[in-house]
Symmetry: C2
Subunit: 312 residues, 2 copies
């Protein structure tokens, strides 16, 4: 098989041995695989793949067809359309995946949106509901609303009955983000639009002090992106008086059983809304796997709305 | 009645009109009332009593006898021994208290320990279990283990099957704190004794960076005391990789219904252990209400093990 390959910081498209499914695993012919921020970090050598995942093939999510099943793999049949989060190796023609972390793609959803769905919607859903416990009627702030996780979080918040405000730096994208149901504001002075019950932080520590200041009583901050800086000053006295809490999280480092649990939560709570059209995977652009370098550079340039997806 | 009275930063013992119980309230003849850190702040003018509480009479907790019941107050009879957390006004001969926040004092417990029980054990229990979700087998770190909340937290952690480590600055107190079931260490270099699943922060932001560094995967930090500084640098990237969370909390600002709920939790989970002797309220010293100034100065001087309690 051929696969996107990282070697010495360069992005290539190279031949690899076909992988073979082990116990409880299936072999997937990948038809779409989204690009994520972690891929950029991995290309730069700052974010090695976890043990057990291909070290030189990037890709945290994939969608494709089951073409072979290992011993004891019973959830799917050959030809089933599946998608899921993987520790790495998603950006290849073939990938071996534990069947417990895979989800069935709704019939209504094509390959590119399916390939861009798992990482962003799982990340957003886990942060908003499993961690921050977002409730109907609450006021949600999404920092970085135009990205993949941001657009997923806005839609999940709206469908859950929350009032959603989102910061978007690029003025040209604000209208499209607003069409998802959010009140869209510039990052500067966002705290004046609070108080917020839940804040989803996709930007970085630059917002930390104002996040605490704009937090409602018993508010929750979920930090899942820090591209604009990791370290900031925290006023514990203010956090105490707000009776607030700050969650840090990432999906990639979780053990298989936790990834499987999040997949079950997504099947139950999110896939019905995706199938009905209430939730949409915004795909900004698609590129063939062989043009991964162009696609990565496009991702890194920013200013897009939604996902960039590689197609098989 | 006479009551401890704060006027222009001075601590007096003065005559006040007897309070009368309103709807759902009881009048309590106070026989013991613990001193807490918040009383020091209130004396210094930095921590005004919440609305509805006496502004000039300090005291966040009390134990005494019911001597009169307002309309609709049905939980207790005259002569019942009760204790509870109040918004203020506990350090007086008489206090009016909503009956929902009161708990029955176990027969085995005398007045001074009853007067020093509610604030510390409720604070510690709420932080460890309701917020941080401490589980049996987990490793708990208590920062500031010799104080009222610290000694309560150590005992609660031990009875809940946690392994407990506690920092104690004063070497003379370490033996007595260790007798509560904790491994006692100096504050310097505490992180080397981790990783910790739950950290109870009673000291301040000075520990923040090392708390995050010493946190186990999915660990929780509950911040309920910041006497040694409110502001510190937080590394969100490290919090993310630990998948950790930081809670800030305080009891005093909570609405009546939340205080009542915490009282029900203490009745269910803590009072049986207090009655059996598995938990002990450590009372360092008692002073009559009329000697509040001496007692406050003793509290402020530190270096004591457990509570200082005023007696009626």
């Amino acid at each position: 098989m051929k696969a996107v390959t990282i070697r010495d910081g360069r992005l290539l498209f190279e031949e690899h041995p076909d992988p073979a499914p082990g116990s409880g695993e299936v072999l997937v012919r990948v038809w779409a695989a989204g690009i994520n921020g972690a891929d950029m970090h991995q290309r730069a050598g700052r974010y090695p793949a976890p043990p057990g995942s291909p070290q030189d093939i990037p890709g945290l999510e994939l969608a494709g067809e089951v073409v072979e099943r290992g011993p004891g793999a019973e959830r799917f049949r050959d030809g089933d359309r599946v998608m899921g989060i993987v520790g790495g190796g998603g950006q290849a023609e073939l990938a071996v995946v534990n069947e417990r972390i895979l989800m069935t793609i709704p019939d209504e959803i094509g390959w590119p949106p399916a390939g861009g769905f798992p990482e962003t919607f799982t990340t957003a859903h886990d942060a908003l509901f499993t961690q921050a416990g977002l409730h109907p009627g609450e006021h949600l702030l999404v920092h970085g609303g135009a990205g993949g996780v941001g657009t997923a979080a806005i839609q999940l918040g709206v469908t859950a009955g929350a009032r959603v405000t989102a910061t978007v730096r690029n003025p040209e994208l604000r209208g499209a983000v607003g069409a998802l149901g959010a009140e869209v504001i510039a990052p500067e002075g966002f705290a004046e639009h609070g108080p917020f019950d839940v804040i989803l932080e996709l930007v970085g520590a630059v917002n930390l002090a104002d996040n605490i200041a704009a937090l409602n009583t018993q508010g929750r901050i979920a930090v899942i992106g820090i591209g604009a800086g990791a370290t900031g000053e925290l006023n514990l006295g203010l956090l105490m008086s707000k009776r607030g809490r700050i969650h840090g999280s990432m999906l990639r480092a979780r053990p298989l059983e936790e990834k499987a649990l999040t997949a079950r939560a997504i099947e139950r709570s999110v896939l019905p809304l995706l199938a009905s059209g209430a939730l949409k995977v915004l795909v900004a652009e698609t590129y063939p796997l062989s043009q991964a370098k162009i696609a990565y550079d496009r991702f890194a340039a920013g200013g897009k709305l939604g996902k960039i997806v590689l197609t098989g």
